[in-house]
């Protein structure tokens, strides 16, 4: 299977990812799903909107799956990231990895999600129960758009 990165506005189908990463040589398939949590850092979240620099995000995602597919031996790798408005429990990202052995499958899965979080230009704005919205800054700084 060609390593495949996708950005979508519609719900992610986890089984489609699992199928894409499966094959007669793959003894282990690992699916990672990221989902919107109801509470983040103590604040009640009602939803999230994801925005991206779409062209660059897609290039970076594709570079990550291409590298992931060869970095720990040959793996089948497919990644899908959703953009737009998501509700609590909606899946924001799905990563499926198929490999002959589970050691490598776990390693690839973990590597792909960490790289994605490190360098793919995607941003999320949390919606809180009090009606406010705030861009999330994982580096812990106060967001430029939301002085507190």
């Amino acid at each position: 299977m060609t390593p495949l990165a996708t950005l979508v506005l519609t719900p992610i189908d986890p089984m489609a990812l699992v199928r894409a990463a499966s094959g007669p040589g793959n003894g282990a398939v690992i699916l990672f799903l990221g989902a919107v949590r109801q509470v983040n850092e103590g604040r009640d979240v009602t939803g999230i909107d994801y925005a991206a620099y779409e062209g660059m995000a897609l290039r970076e995602l594709q570079a990550i799956v291409d590298e992931g597919a060869t970095r720990f031996g040959t793996a089948d790798v497919v990644v899908e990231h959703r953009l737009g408005e998501l509700q609590v429990e909606d899946i924001s990202v799905g990563i499926a990895v198929g490999h002959a052995h589970r050691d490598a499958a776990y390693a690839v899965s973990r590597w792909v999600i960490e790289e994605l979080k490190r360098r793919v230009p995607i941003w999320k704005r949390e919606h809180y129960t009090d009606g406010t919205r705030e861009w999330v800054d994982p580096t812990g700084h106060v967001s430029a758009g939301s002085p507190r």
Partner: protein, 87 residues
């Protein structure tokens, strides 16, 4: 006679909190023909709201991460990248 170094225009893209800070998602920025990313950033800092940008924002030129010394060319797409939060 005109300037020995020609002026050129690059498109600056702003996203998420940076777009909110400057109230725009893109800017047409005119810089000198030998300009670097740092020169483009200096120009952006003159915009209202730019005081809310961090001292050293991440930058991508034509969808590739670039450092402050990288040269830009006429028509380049220079994106200011807020801390990413995908996944």
């Amino acid at each position: 006679m005109y300037d020995a170094i020609a002026r050129m225009t690059v498109t600056v893209l702003l996203f998420a909190s940076y777009a909110e800070a400057l109230g725009a998602s893109s800017l047409a920025v005119e810089v000198a023909g030998d300009a670097t990313v740092a020169d483009v950033l200096s120009n952006v800092r003159a915009q209202p709201g730019a005081d809310r940008l961090p001292p050293m924002p991440l930058v991508a030129v034509n969808q590739q991460y670039a450092d402050a010394h990288a040269r830009v060319r006429d028509g380049d797409e220079v994106a200011l990248i807020p801390p990413v939060a995908g996944g």
